[in-house]
């Protein structure tokens, strides 16, 4: 009975994992196609598409550079905005700090197409539509909810006795913040940074409205060519993005507390 149950469970988990992996595997295989169409199994397998994506076709090379630059910059801006918001929320827990946290989570919680349309209008009035700067700030605003959440979890996980000890030894609030709180929450800050980075990397709706065709990121480039169908070169982009996600989340899991970040009870190990 026990063995049967364990077997059934394993079977269910394995089939679910297969379902999740299936389209991803198919896309990866499609990148090997020799022709221009996405066939599975691939015809005349070749690695030439990788060369096109990373080296020879300027469209994709530029798009990848924009993707990487915007992802890193917007993640940095998002963390800088998120830190004070999360700090005030934890330190004061006042109605005002809660309002700040709610307002900064709005762009992420509501349909991105609405925020994207609004940002398009806003940057047009500011005469910044189509600038990389607008793209970076837009993604930072869209995703700032993520570092606010991870940093808040980090702050809550601090053992109060550390702060008591610092206070007893005469540390001021600023010193405590610098020498105790910042180092203890660093893994959570870094996790928030990389969550934002990966989501910015993959986002395209908001970017579509704020870039105004002046530049494009990889996902936006694919989105724009949607009407002409997918091509194997785009599948190389997919592989790149999947690899980046697995690398980043793997590192967060290795050096951070992934179950804790996802909200599991921290005491249960």
């Amino acid at each position: 009975m026990k063995i049967l149950k364990a077997g059934l469970q394993t079977l269910m988990m394995a089939s679910a994992a297969t379902m999740v992996a299936l389209p991803i595997i198919v896309v990866c295989a499609a990148a090997l196609n020799g022709g221009r169409s996405m066939l599975f199994p691939p015809q005349d397998p070749t690695l030439a598409r990788f060369g096109e994506f990373f080296l020879t076709e300027p469209v994709w090379k530029n798009a990848l550079m924009h993707s990487i630059f915007i992802a890193f910059a917007s993640a940095a801006v998002a963390v800088l905005i998120a830190w004070p918001v999360a700090w005030w929320l934890w330190r004061y827990n006042s109605r005002w700090s809660k309002t700040m946290a709610t307002i900064t989570s709005m762009p992420f919680a509501l349909p991105p197409i609405v925020f994207g349309v609004g940002l398009g209008f806003m940057w047009a009035f500011a005469d910044l539509l189509g600038t990389i700067f607008a793209g970076i700030v837009s993604h930072a605003l869209l995703l700032v909810a993520l570092p606010v959440a991870t940093i808040s979890i980090g702050l809550q996980s601090i053992d109060k006795s550390h702060i008591d000890a610092a206070h007893t030894m005469g540390a001021t609030e600023a010193v405590t913040l610098r020498t105790v709180i910042l180092p203890l929450t660093l893994p959570y800050t870094v996790s928030g940074f990389f969550f934002t980075l990966i989501l910015s990397f993959n986002e395209f709706i908001v970017m579509f409205f704020v870039s105004a065709s002046a530049y494009s990121t990889v996902t936006l480039q694919i989105f724009n060519s949607l009407r002409n169908g997918f091509t194997p070169t785009m599948a190389v982009g997919a592989i790149t993005f999947i690899a980046a996600s697995i690398l980043v989340f793997g590192l967060i899991a290795r050096f951070g507390d992934l179950p804790g970040l996802m909200g599991a009870d921290q005491a249960r190990r």
Binding site: I24, Y92, F121, G263
Partner: protein, 327 residues
């Protein structure tokens, strides 16, 4: 703004810290004002422009008329004629999103439950896998399903090559599939169908469903389950009397969050849904940046979408409050 800080502090503030100091209040205030305005101005602009007026060409001007909303709900020529085109699109937004989110939660639940009972290490590995899948851009997910469901490769080819199509034809099921729109005269087909749209949308949020259900399930105390079992409850009774009651509200909350998330999905709809069965998100895009170029009307449609999302999220919030009150 900063002067009000710290007055109500009651629960979380760490005991060791000194009372709040009023240093740099100006810098703090500027920071807050800038961040809040950047988060809110886009929404306010959409609201304001939804009352605007389109002028010939691609431009528009400020105004205060509600003809855009009138056009949305009853059509531009009302009361002479009445069109429900945009109401239909709103309905399709609802229809795809609700079926896909319920499907995702129903299939993610057993997975999340088993996952939450595993060791911390395997939980972490699963989470890496799920996070990588969920962060994957909609364009890549649709790309994968496009290959899997298109007629030249993928499932229809598999059906044909394995003889499944012939078997369906002889057994009579083929006619049923044709009635459902899942087959053309020669073979099964999935593009464009509601089936393909819903499967892809459900796939989009499935890992997200596991991630959202996981904390609630991980917090169920193992000793409760063991107590129920020692008292002789069969597994299904344990599930029904211990597990489900404690996660009822999170399950509803998760479904609604996924629903709001799917209201905005765009690529899956344009690639898989029939042109006459497309959603409001697609139509917002068409109005603002696509063929029709009518920003005020696009903004009005976006506001309808926004109000729907806000109402649903308010329900989620109230569920969250109740869950907290129960604990």
């Amino acid at each position: 703004m900063t002067t009000t800080v710290g007055v109500e502090s009651s629960t979380t503030p760490p005991p060791g810290l000194a009372p709040p100091q009023r240093r740099l209040p100006l810098a703090n205030t500027i920071f807050c004002v800038v961040v809040v305005s950047f988060c809110i101005i886009p929404f306010l602009l959409v609201i304001a422009i939804s009352f605007g007026e389109k002028i010939e060409g691609a431009a528009w001007r400020w105004s205060f008329d509600h003809s855009n909303y009138l056009r949305f709900f009853v059509g531009a020529d009302w009361p002479d004629t009445r069109t429900t085109l945009y109401i239909r699109r709103l309905w399709f937004s609802f229809y795809y999103a609700i079926i896909a989110s319920v499907l995702a939660v129903a299939t993610a639940f057993p997975f999340a439950y088993v996952m939450s009972r595993q060791s911390r290490r395997s939980q972490t590995l699963w989470l890496v896998f799920l996070l990588s899948a969920v962060s994957l851009s909609e364009v890549f997910v649709v790309m994968g399903w496009d290959i899997l469901l298109s007629n030249r490769s993928g499932l229809p080819m598999v059906f044909k090559e394995t003889g499944l199509t012939d078997w369906l034809k002889t057994s009579g099921w083929f006619e049923v599939l044709r009635e459902w729109g899942l087959a053309n005269p020669r073979n099964v087909r999935f593009k464009p169908t509601d089936f393909a749209t819903i499967v892809t949308m459900s796939y989009l949020v499935w890992p997200y469903a596991v991630i959202l259900l996981y904390p609630a399930l991980a917090r169920i105390d193992n000793s409760m389950l063991e107590a129920a079992r020692t008292m002789g409850a069969p597994p299904l009774t344990v599930l029904r009397t211990v597990v489900l009651p404690s996660v009822r509200l999170p399950v509803i909350g998760t479904t609604l969050i996924l629903f709001v998330f799917l209201l905005g999905s765009y690529v899956a709809i344009t690639v898989f849904a029939h042109p006459s069965r497309q959603t409001l998100a697609v139509s917002v895009y068409d109005s603002v940046r696509g063929a029709t170029m009518n920003a005020p009307f696009g903004a009005a449609q976006a506001i309808v979408l926004l109000i729907t999302a806000v109402l649903v999220l308010l329900i989620v919030w109230m569920i969250g409050r109740r869950t907290e009150a129960l604990q």
